[in-house]
Structures are given as C-alpha cells and as structure tokens.
C-alpha cells in the first residue's frame, strides 16, 4: 500500500494539472515531457520551463519519438543537474536511463521521476500514415480494461514490465476504469510525497498491483510467447538469420536509436572492421560471391553481444528500421533469456552491476570441466 494523490480530472488532464502545479509552485525548475509539435500529431520531448508552454504538454501521449532515457543521458552527460527537474518517462525509458547511468553516461541527481503504468506506444509509422488518429481513440479504453491495445509496438504488446520500478510517482493507467473521471498518482518515494505537498486533490491509500495489472501482465506474457514463437517461423540457423536480415541496409540506424548503444563511435563503424581489398578477394575466392557491404550478420549479432544483456525492449530499433526488420523482437527474445540466465533485469536496481563487469566464482561451475 502506498499513498495516492487523486486529482478529480481525467487522467491526461490530471497529469497536466500535476505538472502545472510542480512548475507554478516552483518545486521544479523545469519539466521534461512530451509536447505536441503540430496538429497532425507530431510530438517531441521538451524541457518546459514556462507554465504557458504546458498547454501543449501531452505527458501520456502513446508515442515514443525517441527513448527519453537516451535524451536524459545526453542531458546530464557533462554533469548532473543542480536544480530539480521533473521528468515524465515510460518504464522502459526509465530503465534505459538507469542502465546508462550504470555506465556513467548521465546522472539521476535532482530528477523527480514521474512515470506511468504503461499501456504501450504506437509505432512511429502510425503517425506518418495518420492511422494513429483512430487508434488513439481506443487506446484509453483498452488501457482502462487492462487489455492490450491493438496496433501498439509488438514489443509493447509483449512487455510485462509496464509498472515502473524506480519512479518517484507513478500515474496509474492500466486497469483504472475511472481514469476518465479521476487521475491516480502513486507516490512511491519520500521525494514523491514531498513534491506533492500542497498539490490539488486528495490523498488516499492504494496498492499499485491490482487484479487488473496482474491480468494485463498475464496477457502480455502470453503475447510475448506468441511473438517469440513467431520468430521460429523463419526456421533457425544461419539461413533464418540471413532471411531475417536480407533487406538490411547496414545503416546501423538501430544502434543509433538504441538507448543502450551509448558508444560515441560504434566499433562496427570504425576502421577496425573495415576490409582490405585483399580480404575481400580471399573471401571471393572461397565463396565465389560476397555480399556488399559486408558483415551484416556480424554487426547485428555483434551489437547483440555488446548490449543485449541490458536491452529494455523499448522497440525504437524496429521503429527506425527503414526495411521493417523486427530487430526489437529478435533482441528482446535473446535479451529475455540471457537476462534470466544472469538473473538480471536491466534498470531495476541502479546498484546492481552490469553482468559483464562482474562475476561469481561459484557459478556455471559445470562449464570448462
């Protein structure tokens, strides 16, 4: 049970109300949240410092133009912020941010973290082709009924970590059948409580895990299994991989969009992995044919080796892929089982070391004997 701030307004307006309060009462210097850019639905993250700009804030808008974790990392890369800023971000974005901080790519200091029980987001395509408009209308319905909203990102539909781990406040959406009338903001930390002193609305005590959230988690888990099983359709082994990545342009957009891929210059874009004409010719002799540019599969599995243990399944990689490769599905499948193996949930605990920066003497002892 934790304290819940109830604002007698629809969940979206309620959220804005909260942000308005935080900014106007000068409890925070600014608010980092999604903002409407134009009428055809373009939204982008913004640091809002003036209350009047809040009218365009759409903190819960079901779209993820970029993974906010990546942005906040860049924001605090040089140094931590020295004045409180409220950041509204989704569970997977928060987890990404924490994974990045573990790699000294930013700092949590002075952030007031506001998150929500996440109903998922729509693919960016639905924005470009306009389909999101009718989708959004049913989004809140399904969220309310703890259903999987149709047409959301595949990884979202299969995401069981929709209840944020480290947020100071969590805006309840999933399974809140009164969300049209009331906005429930769970105050998970002391910080959360302090910042809401004097906020509009009343405090009650509730539990964030409900039958509904359990129900959605179950559905998502089923969906996850389905999603992963579908991958098998391509068969397995190298042939399957080749089919999957057949259309890959080697643009490496997936790594650029990935919040965990934090390297300034990706190893796979560096000279280290360039070929000499002679190495091409050797391979040409062996195979009588080589794909150019080379190393398509090497890149994807290599990138996997580097980051998949921290993959938060946000789905950005799939969304930016110009040739619709289900990158995120593949990565979350591998990530899922690998993370289980190392008993590691990315972004769950900021103190928990990244699996490949540590080891236990008494583990995997059967190996090597």
């Amino acid at each position: 049970m934790s304290n819940v701030l109830k604002i007698k307004k629809g969940v979206e307006q309620g959220a804005n109300e909260l942000l308005k309060f935080l900014l106007e009462s000068e409890k925070v210097k600014g608010i980092f949240t999604l903002r409407k850019m134009n009428e055809n639905g373009a939204v982008s993250y913004s640091l809002i410092t003036h209350p009047k700009e809040l009218q365009n804030a759409v903190p819960l808008f079901p779209l993820m133009p970029v993974n906010a974790g990546k942005i906040l990392s860049g924001f605090t890369l040089k140094k931590a912020i020295n004045e409180p800023i409220a950041a509204v971000l989704r569970s997977c974005e928060l987890r990404a941010f924490i994974e990045l901080i573990k790699r000294t790519q930013g700092s949590l200091e002075n952030f007031l973290l506001i998150s929500s029980t996440c109903g998922g987001v729509y693919p960016l395509k639905s924005l470009t082709d306009g389909t999101y408009k009718e989708q959004v209308s049913q989004y809140w319905e399904s969220a309310k009924n703890a259903e999987i909203s149709s047409d959301i990102r595949p990884t979202c539909a299969a995401c069981e970590y929709f209840i944020p781990q480290q947020a100071d406040m969590t805006i309840a959406i999933v399974g809140k059948n009164d969300l049209q009338q009331e906005c429930s903001i769970f105050l998970n930390t002391k910080k959360g409580e302090e910042f809401t002193i004097g906020a509009p609305g009343n405090i009650v005590s509730e539990d964030i895990d409900t039958k509904e959230t359990a129900k959605l988690r179950e559905k998502r888990q089923e969906q996850k299994k389905k999603l992963f099983d579908e991958l098998e359709k391509n068969g397995s082994g190298i042939k399957a991989l080749v089919k999957t990545f057949a259309a890959c342009l080697s643009c490496h957009g997936c790594s650029k969009a990935c919040p965990i891929c934090y390297c300034t210059l990706c190893d796979f874009d560096s000279k280290t992995h360039e070929y000499l004409p002679s190495s091409h010719e050797i391979e040409l002799e062996q195979k009588e044919g080589i794909r150019l540019p080379p190393g398509t599969i090497f890149f994807h599995i290599g990138r996997m080796i580097h980051m998949v243990v921290s993959c938060v399944n946000c789905g950005m990689c799939s969304d930016v892929c110009p040739v619709n490769i289900p990158v995120s599905t593949i990565f979350s499948k591998v990530g899922d089982s690998l993370q289980k193996l190392f008993d590691y949930l990315p972004g769950k605990d900021i103190e928990e070391p990244v699996p490949f920066g540590t080891y236990k003497e008494e583990e995997f002892t059967e190996i090597g004997e």
């Binding site: 390297c263 300034t264 990706c266």
Partner: protein, 561 residues
Amino acid sequence: MNEKIGVYVCECGPNISERIDIDRVLEEISSAEGVKVAKKFGLLCSNDGKNYLADEIKKEELTHLVVAACSPREHEQTFMNVCLEAGLNPYLFQLINIREQCAWMISDKEEATRMAIKYIHAGISRVTLHKPLLKKELDSIPDVLIIGGGISGIEAALCLAGKDRKVYLVEKTELLGGMVKKFSELLPYQGSNLAVIEEKIEQVQNNENVEILTSSEVEDVRGFLGNFEAVIKSKSNGSGTKEIKIGAIIVATGFKLFDPKNTPQFGYGKIENVLDALEFEEMSASGKILLKNGNPPKSVALIHCVGRNEKGYCSKVCCLYSIKFARHLQDKLPGIDVSEFYSDLCLPDKADQDYFEEAKKKGIHFIRADDFELKEKDGKINVEYKAAGGKKDSIAVDMTILAPAMVPSEDTSKLAEILNLPLDETGFFKEVHEMLDPISTPIEGVYVAGCALGPKNIPESIIQSQAASGKILSSLIPGKKIEPEVKVSEIREEFCTGCQTCLSVCFYGAISFDEYKGISVVNEAICRGCGSCVGSCPSGAIRSKHFTYPQLYREVLQALR
C-alpha cells in the same frame, strides 16, 4: 607495403627436419607477400644459430623476422634478444611453434608440413602488423607495508627495519601491541612479564626506518611485487589520506574473540561475573580481581572451547591461557577453588605438559565435560554440565571465565577484497599451501603472518613474521630493476565513451577514470597485459599491444584459408 620479412625455419636437429618437409615449407612461403628471404638452419637457438640470425637480419636489412621453431614458451626471449643485438625491435618478430604443435603432435608428415605452412603464413601476415614496442625499466621499491601493529606486525617491522628497509606500519587503533598488550602476563617460560613486548614496541617506535601510522586503515592497493601503490586513510584528526609506494606487503591483522553471546547457554552478558578471557586479562592486569559486588571470588570456573563447535576448529591457545589464569588466581587469591572445564586438552609445545601437571598438583580441578548450562542461583553461578561418561552434574561458583574461540579480526574480508586475497572457509586469510608455503598468498609480494592466518600462539606468530620478512629480503633486493609488462593495454581516447566497464574487469586496478576528459586511463606501470579489459570494451577503444584485434584477426583468417 615495403616490408622485408625474413622467415627462418629451424631444423631443431632431427626434431623438426625428420617430421616436416622443410624444403616444401620454404618453397610454399617464400612467395608470400612481403617475404624477402626464407631459409632453414640446423639449430637456431645454438650460438651459431643466434649469430647466423643476427647476421641475416643485418645483411638482408630485414624489417620483420619470423622464426619457425619451438614453442614461444621455450625460445621467444632467446630470439628477441638476437633481434635486439641486430638492431631490430624485438617486437617486430614472431616465433612460430612448429615443433610442439606440428612436428611432435601430427604423425602424418604430409599433414604436419601442411599445418606448419598454415602457422607460418599466419605468422607472416600477423608480423607485418606488429608495432615496435619499447621496454621500460623501473627501480623496484624496497620499502614494505605492514598492515597490523600487533606482535606479528611489530616483529616483521623490526626484522625489515634492521636491514635498513623503510617500513610503513599501519595500525587501525591508536596503540601498537594489539592483543598481547591486553595480557596481564605471558606463560612463565615465555618470559614471565610483559617487558619483552614493551621492549619491542619501544624499539619500533624508536626506529627511524619505521614510519608508524596508527588510527589508520589501508583503503586501496594496486600493483605488483616491487611496485605497489597503497592509499592509507587516517581516522585521527584531519583524517587525510596518504599515498605510499612499496615493494611488498605483510598482512598481520591478527584475530578477535568469538562473541560468547552467540552461545547463550554460557549466560555471558546476562549473568553477572561471567567474563571472557580478555576481560579477565584486563582485570588481572589491573591487579584487582573482584566480583561485581566488590568482593574477591572464592570459587572460579574456567570453561574452555566456547564456540569451538560453532566455528569448527580448535583455537590452540585457550587451554594454556586458561591454566595460566588458574595458576594466576591461586597466586593472587590463596585458597581459591578453581575448576577447569575442558573437552579436549591442547598441549602442543614441549613445556606445556609440565605446566599442566604442575597445575594439577596445585589442586586445580580438571573436569572433562560438555553440554553446559549456566544459571544464576542465589548470588552464585550454577554451572550445570554433563561430565565425561554422561553423568549430569553441577557446581556453584562466584566467577566464570570463558575461553572463546579466536576468529578473524574486523574487516578481514574488506582487506581481502582490497588486496585480492582469498579467505578460507573459517574466514581467515588462506595461505598458498598450509604445509609447503604457509605464509605466501597468490599475489606475489604479499604475505600473511600470525593470527590473520588462524589461531596461533605468540612464538608461532613471531616465526611467521620473521619468515615473511626473510622472503621479502631475499626476493626484493634494493636497486634491482623490474621490467613492467610491455604488451600492455592502451586506450584510444577518441573511441572511449567513458563507461568504465574496463575498470570493473581489471583485477590490478591498473585502469582509472579521468573525470576531466571523461575517459579511462591505463597505468602502464601496473597493467600486466592480460587483456581482460579489451574483451570487455564495446567501443573497441582499448587495445592490448601486440595482441590487437587486427593481429589476431589475421591469424583467424589464415587459419581458415
């Protein structure tokens, strides 16, 4: 590319020549890119062979040398020296192992030859990517850090300082002397009064070779034999940290007593006048052996082996000091009734037996018993016990003195982590070999002495300190140069994203983080060149010299030709 590579195949007497078709090898590889000469020689590691190689390098103006002979573990250094003489950087050379790995392992001469050719091709394509590396020499540091100012630490300090070694003696309390300082007296044959110890403490304090750092703790240690860096944090006023450079380290952090509260049946902390050994030592040292009510005790029970079952080992010294207590009580309080409750008597040293027999003669009761239960009974302590043979019994006494087990001192595990030392299942430091190498640790240049390794009496502790000092004096000779590893890791700044993953996998603490630049930095004096960091860097920013990705990759490619 204008390499001039010289490839020389060693016949190694019959070893290689009889099992590999060297002439075919030569004709195969002489056409390889960059190869200027390809020749064979009888025995390249012989003096003639070495001179021959050196001449060839000069005559042919070779830029790279490839020798196909035995295992690098055998003669790599030999041929590197040849390069040096001949004015070729020894790292522009590659030794190919065609003896152990081909000639001796592959029966079919055809196959062996083919494999040898593969290996040599790999070596040729690899060597062209070699970069000249320069050996550096560091003076080894003869100074020593001793952690723990008890009797062991002091003894070690004196041994080393006596040989003009600068010694840093770090003690976490304000006082030197450790446990021994708390004793009221030693066993008679150990020199009946404590003056001996006091003397030693004084000697250390007056020795200008010894820098005593009390109220201090070791915070960080990195490096290796002859070249350690340590950070000492002082807890006293100012509480600054001090960086010192030393060549070796002795850990002498001693022990503490098992807390009898963990064995409630002895009533410690609950029943009045139940003391543990140290409390009694202090009491008798103060000269006033009194009960809480101010009267001297008329009857005392001494109980051995408190916590032995819990800990699972015998603490060795309890029996003797308990006897010591008994006799001390008799001297100080004539007519007092003293009973010793023991489960097994441990009397290892030559004089111990007599000491015990005398005690019996003096009328001290020795009762073999277990299953104790101490209760308060009208102002006295009722000691219930099961005597040998199973008979339940009890006596009432004024005072009970417990002899708790010896356990590792505070922060033993913390120190183990800092020094990368293993602990055994009892929680004490683990020696390399209990019998054959009882004071060494897996880390070269780091030794453990005294009770930090487990229960010991004073003489044993002193012996170990002297042994550790001896090891250091013989292995760490002043003026002796150490050659830090040349094939170390290096950071390519422009690639480093500053994630510090490498720091977490470097077991030598050779990598640090440059806050200003926001990148990792390798301390080449400390890096041993294992390359773990390279394997961990996603940005490909770290490179281990002489084992770079391209160099190894060339080998992979050739392996698959």
